[in-house]
């Protein structure tokens, strides 16, 4: 059962030569074979390539090398480029696309000795909250296969929760790491905008996108974040801020920390009573552990959904203009280039992607730009100011990660606005450019489904989030509960 190990357990046992990287990978591949026909976390798997990496890691270990990820199998969302592997973004339009280069995070994982394997399922172009928008079929929640795993990084959350890998990477534009992590019962972290290079991440909304870790433990998220962070000359929006030793931040003490509880989140209309009860209990636990919870206000919270879906779709309409049927991807011919573009994009994109590109085109179009796009950018300023003001008096903010637990497949797929509203607690973090983390804080009774606690931190305040999350995790035991997969 080596596939159930955490990153720190794996590296410790590899260093002691009790196990080999090849054996850990084989255990993960066995688990994929055993459960993935039911869960559909993986879109593709290149076993010979993964085995070659594991063998190379074993040689490095035998030569005395050490490293925080050396020999650890890590799976990537299918929106992060890996040289000579498929990069479909869950879309028909890129179904046969093979990446000619590595993303910066991929290169960093390689340098750290990770065994990179598997392409993980996602909502098409990271647009969605359930993975139902994948052109290749939805992933399933390991706790209840009739329910969605969340999205857009649903495959990443499922693969970690179902022990099909040791850890994974996803991307988060409006909650796409934190929401599926919450709904599947694992740890997910969206770094501060600029903390991690976006080079080689297929762009959805460039001012909001960040890559981040999915892990079984907070400590693993800290290790993985450290490995992928840092300034990159290939991404002009990455920030030249030193990368701390995130593991060193896990001191186990919350003494003196002030935690803000935004009243707008706890009074939200659609908040499930069982989710609220679990988060209230988590706040009590944090108080018991030495933190000081205080009520705060983020007055522009109610405007986040509208603001996000204007800014994100505007940016998406520009970013996805590159899929034109000429240079790469699907091509559906036409009598002239205009018809070729229309046919290719009409047949290559799924419904949600079309909806967002059309909405984004509209809010940027002449006559509507000021009323929608410019106004949304101004409200974004107000939302960011709310957070920066709150962080003058608190060290981190505590909220539910999602208003409800995992919903049923098909429940919201015909009603896009209801789907958008399910992101209500995660969107503001991306608009403000701050960091956020989600971790397990309980389960509903029947059916038993995971509940997620969200922590939000100052720009480059990941150490505080990890410290709070780790202290809470070690004092509870939610993270050791596993879904029954048979």
């Amino acid at each position: 059962m080596l596939n159930t190990l955490t990153i720190s357990e794996t590296t410790a046992r590899l260093q002691r030569r009790e196990i080999s990287a090849r054996e850990v990978l084989a255990a993960c591949l066995d688990q994929v074979r055993r459960v993935d026909s039911k869960l559909h976390a993986f879109l593709a798997l290149d076993e010979p390539d993964a085995l070659a990496q594991a063998e190379a890691a074993d040689k490095r270990i035998a030569a005395g090398e050490q490293g925080p990820l050396l020999g650890v199998p890590i799976a990537l969302k299918d929106v992060i480029a890996v040289r000579h592997q498929r990069l479909s973004c869950g879309s028909r339009i890129l179904e046969n696309f093979v990446s000619p280069y590595d993303a910066t995070v991929t290169g960093k994982l390689r340098a750290a000795g990770a065994v990179i394997f598997g392409r993980l399922n996602m909502d098409e172009f990271a647009m969605g909250s359930s993975t139902e928008n994948s052109a290749f079929g939805p992933s399933r929640n390991p706790w209840d296969r009739e329910r969605i795993p969340g999205g857009s990084s649903g495959g990443s959350a499922v693969a970690v929760a179902a022990d099909q890998c040791i850890a994974a990477l996803g991307s988060d534009t409006g909650g796409s790491i934190r929401q599926p992590a919450a709904l599947c019962g694992c740890v997910g972290l969206k770094p501060t905008y600029g903390r991690v290079s976006r080079y080689g991440l297929v762009a959805y909304a460039s001012s909001l996108d960040q890559i981040g870790p999915f892990a079984k433990r907070v400590r693993d998220a800290a290790v993985l974040l450290g490995a992928i962070s840092g300034y990159d000359p290939k991404d002009s929006t990455s920030v030249a801020q030193p990368v701390p030793d995130y593991s060193a931040a896990l001191t186990g003490s919350l003494r003196g920390l002030r935690l803000g509880l935004p009243r707008e989140y706890f009074a939200a209309g659609g908040l499930d009573p069982q989710v609220k009860a679990a988060v209230d209990a988590a706040v009590d636990k944090l108080r018991e552990l030495g933190a000081e919870p205080v009520e705060i206000s983020l007055p522009h919270t109610d405007y986040a959904v509208a603001t996000y879906y204007i800014i994100a779709t505007a940016e998406a309409s520009a970013n996805l203009a590159r899929f034109d049927g000429v240079r790469y991807g699907l091509r559906v011919d036409g009598k002239d280039p205009i018809e070729l573009y229309g046919n290719t994009r009409g047949q290559g994109f799924g419904d949600e992607v079309k909806r967002r590109i059309i909405l984004g085109t509209y809010v940027l179009s002449s006559g509507y730009y000021d009323a929608y796009y410019l106004r949304a950018q101004k409200v974004r300023t107000l939302i960011r100011r709310d957070f920066l003001k709150a962080f003058e008096t608190v060290d981190a903010i505590v909220t539910p990660a999602t208003p409800t637990v995992a919903f049923r497949l098909g429940e919201k797929s015909q009603d896009p606005l209801q789907m958008y509203l399910s992101d209500i607690f995660t969107l503001s973090c991306n608009l403000a450019g701050i960091c956020g983390l989600s971790l397990p804080c309980g389960f509903t009774r029947s059916p038993k489904l995971p509940i997620g606690l969200q922590l939000l931190g100052r720009p480059f305040g990941e150490e505080t989030l990890l410290r709070v999350a780790h202290t809470y995790e070690q004092a509870t035991g939610w993270h050791v509960q596993k879904p029954a997969l048979d």
């Binding site: 000429v326 036409g334 509209y362």
Partner: protein, 95 residues
């Protein structure tokens, strides 16, 4: 098809997405509903507020203008749906 807010046929054409009549119906209705929801932003006073395009204001990030290795022509064309003679093929534009 013109809804209360947008003419979806027209905007889809601007976005170079060809929709079927059934898609125009469904998307048009959904987009109108979404734009109704967006109306709430109009009630907020944003006078004197600067727009945020990026969470961290960066200006003129420059790099030296030097030749660096890049993809070979073969690699750049590997994913092209219709390459020919080292080029991308497109339908005839000029008669």
């Amino acid at each position: 098809m013109a809804g209360a807010h947008m003419d979806v046929t027209d905007v889809a054409h601007l976005a170079r997405i060809r929709l079927t009549p059934a898609e125009e119906q469904t998307l048009g209705r959904q987009l109108d509903q979404i734009l109704d929801y967006m109306e709430q932003l109009k009630g907020l006073d944003v006078s004197g507020v600067e727009p945020t395009a990026h969470p961290f204001p960066l200006v003129n990030v420059m790099r030296p203008d030097e030749a660096r290795p890049s993809l070979s022509q073969d690699e750049a064309l590997r994913n092209a749906p219709a390459p020919a003679n080292g080029l991308f093929m497109v339908p005839k534009i000029v008669e």
